[in-house]
Symmetry: C2
Subunit: 328 residues, 2 copies
């Protein structure tokens, strides 16, 4: 019997979750829920219903795990605790500074409902967190660095779009080879933001806008750009659509550490990913975590977990014996 | 209260486990057990006793986790099941083809004894296995490759030493950049062994030995060398000791896969390690797994586990809350 999945929210992540389910024969999509009029939403999977978000409780008995695909700013902080009272849920809440608060809210709701929730699944938080954890546990005397990119930063692109005279914009975060290579050689310097990442912006200006002023406003924007070397290109809307419509991303977690009685030996652990589609990779992690949520619930566990609490074996469709025979 | 560790076997791994314990303030070494006369064995940690392996049961009450540091060929297949009847144990059994059999034996013993055992901790099997698992779970439609090195292969070095006229030898396994880069670019070719790894041998010949014959015997040795490009250098014993006494190793696990409704997007996940000391890195993984074993036992779990069954959080000395606040 397959794991019956519901999708709440049909944006980039929701659609990517739908695609990921099709790659996992032990799973089945049973419904997509949306706040839009259901008839206005057309999904990819044949024979699966689209229903209004308000009707989700009516399908409680038909859904094993509900995947929450809303945004971290306002959707998930309310949605995940509310729905965890009724469903096993998985979300990709990614506001690092508020994870503890979100965890506490979801944990209380899931315990009340006797459900199992997994929050903050994706790659950062997510696979990058797991890799920071393993590397620190293995090499306690060392230092790790996380680099992001090359990829589109939604937050930085939005920040540029808010500038007067900007019609559209995309911002790429680019890790600097010089810092990457230093860290790979066990350098444990305290790099500045400027030494680790470059910011490259592709901006479509409104007709007649003062591009020099726009460039200056971007480069001096506190938090977002002022601490980085920032390159600004003005391009046409056509060029933006043609060359910068993808949502690639990626990054690196690298830790070096010392071992030996006199700390005489050095080791370097690196994890890196290169993604054509940020939402599709995130969705693929979410779906593996949904499998783990289903199994943990089947074992009688309830409450909130993060990806750090999930035994790796639970993310795989293979049995323990198959895993020991084929990949251990 | 710290986790009280015993070490069974004081070779390369045993000594490295001793060093690793010192880096983990929540752990304490309480005894080293050896089959040699205990007085002949001098360890690094002050105030810790060395006792004969036969006396290990006498310290049953003083040890939380016994770390088994024997070899996989003959020591561990007997030792781990025997000692799992009395102690929580961790080993680094690394004969891939016999893991299932070893697991079954250890599981039966641990259930009988009401203990918790973790087998096959290290990097392959170990961290590489975990990374194969995560990458396959996230990208089910794809292909992965494991490369080893650059590093000393003990088995291949031993094979050379068995050749007549060879006094000493070290063999380095070297991954080929051409295959590495192809795989990093999502190439899913079925590479031959020769396309993936080079074997470089440093050989000390006995005086008057026929080096041409030795080189020919190495290069034509089935399984070990015949399927690879092999380079043989004859050097002096002095040079071997001076330049090739370390035990470096490392390697790469790389998986590429497709996502999207039409499989239109490609992703690449890479994990790699570069180690000055193979046994010290292995020991560092073992010790993190010993922490997990201790915790799982404290929760009432018994039986045999592998590193694939351990929730990542259990390997860290930090609490769940600390992990969510600092690295999730």
């Amino acid at each position: 019997m397959s794991i019956r999945i519901g999708i709440m929210g049909y944006g980039n992540i929701g659609r990517a979750v739908e695609c990921a389910i099709r790659q996992n024969p032990d799973m089945e999509l049973v419904a997509v829920f949306t706040r839009r009029p259901p008839k206005s939403v057309s999904i990819l999977t044949e024979g699966v219903c689209v229903r209004h978000a308000d009707d989700v409780l009516q399908m409680k008995e038909e859904i094993d795990v509900l995947v929450l695909c809303g945004g971290s700013a306002t959707d998930l902080p309310a949605q995940t605790p509310e729905l965890a009272k009724h469903f096993n849920v998985v979300d990709s809440f990614d506001t690092h500074a508020r994870i503890s608060e979100h965890f506490a809210n979801v944990d209380a709701a899931a315990r009340e409902g006797g459900t199992l929730a997994v929050i903050s699944c994706g790659w950062d938080p997510g696979m990058f967190s797991i890799n920071r954890l393993y590397a620190r546990a293995i090499l306690p005397e060392g230092k790790d660095y996380t680099f992001w990119g090359k990829g589109i930063s939604q937050g930085h692109s939005d920040a540029i779009r808010r500038i007067k005279g900007v019609k559209n914009a995309k911002q790429y975060t680019i890790p600097l080879e010089s810092a990457l290579n230093a860290v790979r050689n066990a350098d444990t310097t305290a790099f500045t933001p400027r030494q680790m990442h470059l910011r490259e912006c592709f901006v479509v200006a409104e007709e007649g806008a003062d591009t020099q002023r726009i460039e200056q406003e971007i480069k001096s924007m506190p938090n977002y750009f002022a601490d980085y070397d920032t390159v600004v290109h003005f391009i046409s809307e056509e060029e933006l659509l043609r060359d910068h419509s993808g949502i690639p991303h990626g990054g690196f977690v690298i830790r070096s550490g010392k071992t030996g009685w006199e700390n005489e030996n050095t080791h370097v652990i690196e994890y890196n990913i290169k993604l054509d589609s940020n939402p599709e990779f995130t969705a693929s992690v979410i779906i593996a975590c949904a499998r783990a949520a289903y199994r943990m619930k089947a074992e009688g566990l309830t409450g909130c977990k993060t990806i750090l609490d999930l035994p790796p074996a639970y993310l795989s469709p293979l049995s323990g014996e198959e895993l020991r025979n084929t990949l251990l």
